[in-house]
Symmetry: C2
Subunit: 337 residues, 2 copies
């Protein structure tokens, strides 16, 4: 069973519900029953999707941790609690990163010995899929956080995305070990002596080229790089499209190219991939893009299902332990439960 928060998608709760139906998976859907419709509540119609009426929604303008703590009836809080209580095996939300991160971290908790959960964005690039983490959960990190991100990202790409011995790169301002901040240099040294297929430091150039399978960075740089890539790709396509309308000959050319460009767009569509994954928690958590429609949300739900089936969490914990990357300090944080 996958717990899904129906609030938060730009397209509205009904689109999330439609995605739940299309996923083919067993889903516990938290959202406003009135907007979702009754398909899930009529016995026998589609018993795979069960709707729990939860109209209360945490907005993007609220301070996430405070909102999650003070509003137990909010849909994302109830969905995360269902996972923590064992009623569901994974959590999926649509586009509300802050509240999802807060609700999941507080209820589902971190894997024992993990410093910080990270948002890992799965990018469909022309040369292949790349996992970029952290994409924004931690704007400041220490070297030991970057090292854990590397193990967590590699475990996901190996066991869920099915890439054998994924290559891991550390994002920096040059490929030499001596480049970057002191924290990046320290992480480089630890990764170079570790158990992963470490490709060393990489530059911004290497990210869109898919030079490695996993790109590790802090949440500030990762967030900026991710959004810059997304917008640059769009701006470039728009400029070419505009150039294609600059005259009769070009316009005809643009029309003739339309079919193959549409195919390309479909292949590079983030909706096909399923969104971002929250790594480092005790259950899989997938965050769809706010702009996803039903198909994107169905892909997000199937991605969560695959992470459960492939025992992503258990294998991540084992990889962190085998690599000596778990926090060695005694338990003490209230977040660790």
């Amino acid at each position: 069973m996958i717990a899904v928060d129906a609030n938060g998608a730009d397209a509205g709760p009904a689109a999330v519900a439609e995605g739940a139906y299309r996923s083919g998976e067993r889903v516990l859907l938290f959202g406003p029953q009135g907007e979702i419709g009754s398909r899930g509540s009529e016995p026998g119609v589609d018993s795979r999707v069960r709707v729990v009426d939860a109209p209360e929604r945490i907005g993007g303008d609220e301070e996430p941790v405070r909102a999650v703590r003070s509003r137990p009836r909010a849909s994302i809080v109830q969905a995360a609690k269902a996972v923590a209580d064992g009623d569901a095996e994974a959590l999926v939300s649509a586009g509300t990163t802050g509240p999802t991160l807060a609700a999941a971290t507080l209820a589902i908790k971190r894997i024992r010995g993990v410093h910080r959960p990270a948002i890992a964005a799965l990018l469909p690039l022309p040369a292949g899929q790349v996992l970029l983490l952290d994409a924004g959960a931690n704007v400041e990190v220490r070297p030991e956080h970057l090292v854990q991100f590397a193990y967590m990202g590699a475990a996901f790409m190996e066991h869920v995305a099915g890439i054998e011995r994924p290559r891991v790169g550390l994002l920096s301002v040059g490929t030499e070990a001596g480049k970057g901040t002191p924290d990046v240099q320290a992480a480089h040294e630890r990764l170079a002596g570790g158990a992963l297929e470490f490709a060393g430091s990489i530059e911004g150039f290497d990210l869109p080229n898919a030079a490695v399978d996993v790109v590790v960075t802090d949440g500030f740089t990762g967030n900026v790089a991710l959004k810059t890539m997304e917008a640059t790709s769009r701006v470039t396509r728009d400029a070419i499209r505009e150039a294609a309308h600059s005259g009769v000959v070009s316009t005809l050319g643009g029309l003739l190219m339309r079919g193959s460009v549409a195919k390309l767009r479909k292949r590079l569509d983030p909706e096909g991939v399923g969104g971002a994954i929250l790594l480092g928690l005790r259950r899989p958590v997938v965050i769809g893009h706010g702009s996803f429609g039903p198909d994107g949300l169905a892909a997000a739900i199937r991605l969560a299902r695959r992470a459960v089936d492939e025992q992503m969490v258990e294998r991540t914990a084992a990889a962190l332990e085998a690599g000596g990357a778990l926090r060695s300090a005694p338990a003490g944080s209230v977040n660790r439960g």
Copy 2:
């Protein structure tokens, strides 16, 4: 007179010399006389370009500050000294960022009260020119550095690029003032209360869209964002070109579009803009892209000339002072001369 280092360009010293001739400016060219040829040394042939034989070159694999300090005969060191001694008014190099930054900072020195020089990259985007700084001189910065970058970048865009009241954005992970690292938040607060046309925090999305004229960030994030943009633009264009060859109809379409796409590429060509500018020093310093050919280097030399003519340094110092952004601590650093 503009001092130009002929070493460092991928295309070799002769291409830099050719760029110097094409610029139409008076140039003092430091490089290997044997490779540059004798055009500049024959009296009357082209008296605007004077060649100083300086075959010694600092390579990209050397530690820049140590190399600059220990090798006074290296071409970039001699060129920077010519500017410091008043024999030339500005410095231009082709692509060797580390040695140029070190040689210029040590010889030409910072504007009094400036903490750190910054590399400002002038980006030709479909929606207009954007100045991104710091693009890699300082991988770690404090809030007062970011504030100075904002004033320095705005002064360049206003007085050299000719944009009235340039809008300045602070790169962050969200548009709210409370987003980003504590240092970014502190810089945001100071800029919001300052004299610039401050557009607030911007996201990675806003960079390729040219939502502002000046994008301020630390040298780590700026370097990653710049290289990510450059590579994403190339990867997107390559993918579309490949799609255009995926069948007979598309191939014909691609051929018909070729003219207008070539025009677009020319408009977005970094060679037309002149490269990156080192801001915060007592004389203008321009660093071309290592890949520039003669036309790109000619544009870099003309950009340096314009910065001299428009009194960029004096106006930058005045703007920093008027904005209360100069360092108030007493002089003491050996770098300040």
